[in-house]
Amino acid sequence: MKLLQIVTKQELKSSLIAIPVFTLILINGSGYLLTAASYGFLIAILSFGWNLTALTGEISLGHAGFFGIGAYVAVISGISGINSVLSVFIGALAAGVYGAITSLSFYRLSGVGFALASIAFSQIPKIVAENLSITGAGSGIVNIKPLFIIKSINTPLREYIMGASLLIILLIFTAFAGKKIWLKLSAIRQNRIAAEALGIATIRYKQINMLISSFIFGFVGALWTYWIGYINPDTAFDLYFSTAPLIGALFGGRNSLIGPIIGALILYLSDSAISMIFPVGHKAVYGLAILVTIMALRGGIFKAKKAII
């Protein structure tokens, strides 16, 4: 019942369709389909993480910075001899710390100011990564060993890690479902001054949300880099990792918990299908999806008068 307080019936119905579909793909799928589903999970986790910041009313355009920090710190820790699983959490923690610094620095900013500052702040680690020898400068680091090497079992384990991570994150957050914190976040988003007048520590909640959000981005960034086996500033800090989660959250509905996940999964699979036809310009699909979401489906697909799904 607690889950129902933050998830609408329509969202639950969609989840009931989407989750079995993706489970079937993961069980029976292979090659491109399996990889696409796993990337879908990756973007879904990011959408969920991005939405935590959006729940306080702020729109961040610089979350790619946290993703990149998580990826770089994890790889460098791994290279320096730290256990690779532990290095993923070190990367996530580093991203969380940077998120906390971002939030502390910009606690006065909101709206456009916050969005712009987030872009500028996300560029700083990229510039640093482009210029240090420890990060491999512009060329980056190649031949990164995968997180798990299970030679004896012919299972593409890495493809399942993203799905498992999404499930764990969802389980953790549904444990908080129905708690007062969601009402407080909603109050901050709708009227920050009124929320403050009611005694809600708006700045503290924003900072905590940003810390958790950036930790999730760092965690996924670290997993991603072990997955693909190389890293360079252009790929790790790609604007795509800021925009794709944003679009997923907008498309699914940014005021809900499950909506961003479903939105991201639908969009990513559509993008994957279109990228087979237009390998160069498939990012335009994301752009068009935002345009349609903002101009036509103003509250996301679940709030649209005629539901798409």
């Binding site: 729109i59 355009l61 620095s105 910009f106 006065r108 900013l109 709206g111 456009v112 100011g113 969005a115 712009l116 500052a117 872009i119 500028a120 702040f121 560029q123 700083i124 510039i127 482009e130 210029n131 604007l239 925009t243 944003l246 679009i247 907008l250 237009f278 160069v280 310009g281 498939h282 990012k283 335009a284 994301y286 752009g287 068009l288 999806a289 935002i290 345009l291 903002i294 101009m295 103003r298």
Partner: protein, 258 residues
């Protein structure tokens, strides 16, 4: 020119155009395609003509943005940025392009002055454009009407000022400034689809520094140039962008603290 265009559109329409640099870049590419033209007037006429068409295409999107306009304009223009970047990559590939000017226009305007004729022409045009905007804003009744719309839109409406028409005109002028800036940028810099965001950051930085004045934009542009040069000189060319980003952060925080 780049910042003036951004500034005019922001003040009169409240649209924070993240795709601004990529839109300017489009005109840089158009200039690249026209660079073999034998006349100076033809490229500039085409650039201005296309900028008018472009502004008429964008107006219906920008005019129908749901409230709150500012954050929604960021998201929508971000979407436009993605679409345009994909189109530019599709049309021109990710390769870096440089305009090779017709020798006649590439020739310096005088001995020992390394400025091409076409570049000088565009620069002069830019100075005239900015001066005209400044004089209109400060010395004419039209400037007062614009100011009324910016200060209090609903009051301006009640006094019978056609606010929508005024913001449409401002938008067209802003787009024109952007197009010319993009063309000039294309003649002196390498063009590649992802470089648009850099131009947007320049326009945003200068606008943030400028506050609400055209003179401020000129001073902001100069300050930005100095900081870029200093960070490049002391830290190396690769660290130049660090100065720009830190400048944005410092100004945003300082502005909010006032």
């Amino acid at each position: 020119m780049l910042s003036v265009g951004f500034f005019i559109v922001l003040l009169t329409t409240r649209i924070f155009n993240i795709a601004y640099g990529t839109m300017a870049l489009l005109f840089g590419y158009i200039m690249w395609m026209l660079s073999n033209n034998t006349s100076t007037l033809v490229p500039i006429a085409i650039i201005i003509g296309l900028s008018l068409i472009f502004s008429f295409l964008l107006l219906p999107i920008f005019k129908n943005l749901p409230e709150p306009v500012e954050p929604n304009s960021i998201i929508v223009t971000f979407a436009i940025l993605l679409v345009m970047e994909a189109i530019l990559t599709y049309l021109f590939s990710s390769d870096w392009r440089i305009i090779t000017l017709n020798p006649n226009y590439d020739a310096p305007i005088a001995n020992n002055i390394a400025v091409s004729r076409l570049n000088a022409f565009f620069s002069l045009f830019s100075v005239i454009f900015i001066s005209t905007i400044y004089l209109i804003a400060k010395k004419t009744r039209i400037g007062l009407i614009f100011k009324a719309c910016i200060d209090n839109e609903s009051a301006a409406k009640r006094f019978g000022i056609p606010v929508d028409l005024v913001s449409n005109i401002a938008f067209i002028f802003g787009t024109m400034a952007m197009a010319i800036a993009g063309a000039v940028y294309g003649m002196t810099n390498y063009l590649y689809p992802a470089s648009g965001i850099k131009l947007t950051m320049i326009a945003i930085t200068v606008t943030i520094i400028a506050g609400e004045s055209i003179i401020g934009i000129l001073l902001g542009g100069i300050l930005l140039g100095i900081i870029e040069s200093f960070s490049g000189y002391f830290l190396g060319g690769n660290w130049q962008d660090l100065g720009v980003n830190l400048l944005i952060i410092v100004f945003l925080i300082a502005k909010e603290s006032r």
